[in-house]
Symmetry: C2
Subunit: 167 residues, 2 copies
Amino acid sequence: MNQSKDPSTNNALLQKEIKDFLQKKGFRITKQRLAILETLFQSKDCFHAEELWDKVIQEDASVSRPTVYRTLKLLLEGGFLRPLDLGRDQQYYDLNTPDQAKQNHIICKDCNKIIEFNDPCLDIRESALIKELGFNPKNMTFKVEATCQELNSTGQCDRKDTESDQE
Amino acid sequence: MNQSKDPSTNNALLQKEIKDFLQKKGFRITKQRLAILETLFQSKDCFHAEELWDKVIQEDASVSRPTVYRTLKLLLEGGFLRPLDLGRDQQYYDLNTPDQAKQNHIICKDCNKIIEFNDPCLDIRESALIKELGFNPKNMTFKVEATCQELNSTGQCDRKDTESDQE
DNA sequence: TTTTTGATTGATACTGACTTTCAATAGCAG
DNA sequence: CTGCTATTGAAAGTCAGTATCAATCAAAAA
């Protein structure tokens, strides 16, 4: 669609698209949803629900946890978010901005550090495999669990004991 | 290690290796652990804890859920199981038999059908990426979420057996 | 074989992510 | 402004997995 190189322009466009989506579906534009969207557009990296909620209640303390989860579900339905399975603990999400290429992820099992990257070779192999195996692609994630190289003497990542990903 | 082509021979060998591991570590060979191992060796495909427990209690109804989880943790420590992240609901496992090559997985988001496959191209790219990004490989999973082609009129997989549902 | 020791067990309660319920509230169309 | 109903927050529920703890039992020692 739009190819602007300015991310804030794209965010504004996306925010309008989301509002259009809500109106078209008969959903309402509430102050809670606006607060969640605003917070969403501030985060550059992928995130999970609890993380998002933490940030949202700093702007509007009245927004409840269920509302955050419900809004994420809504945005997922609208195709504005991409679900990322980076570990069993929490569901991660990525904002589906038009200027953002499809990304793969690598996560450190010890400290939860996440690196996003692109790899056309993988994407091509991925598509071929899906076809070969008779599947319809829905949500493709190339995920590698590994330990990053900030290792301590026990062979584990130094950041291990930090609470889950405060990036 | 051993390259026998007879899986049952390998299972017997593996079962001995597990017992050796337990003894070496000062762990005990209990009837509960034996029941769990026996069930484990009967399943050809990957599995998750609840699934395993269901099968185990058919042989020995007294085995408790915590014991199954504890035994899986133990086997994981010993390197006899490989953890597979196939969806956020449950932790899946694969038996690390010597005759079993490293496998990748594709899972149907709708019906949870899992296909195991090998792909040397992926493995090579995987290793290169890990090195490039400065990670130490720990548990590499190439996972694709997709829908298998057994689709019904609503565009969803017919075998859909999960309770999650979107209108 | 019996004793001893502490690893292991099942019952129970708990955690943490996420969902459901429901009465009250608040968008928004008229 | 009014009425309809989508949405909300609080509270309770679900579900996979974990921690606690007294009782039990594997297995080494006597």
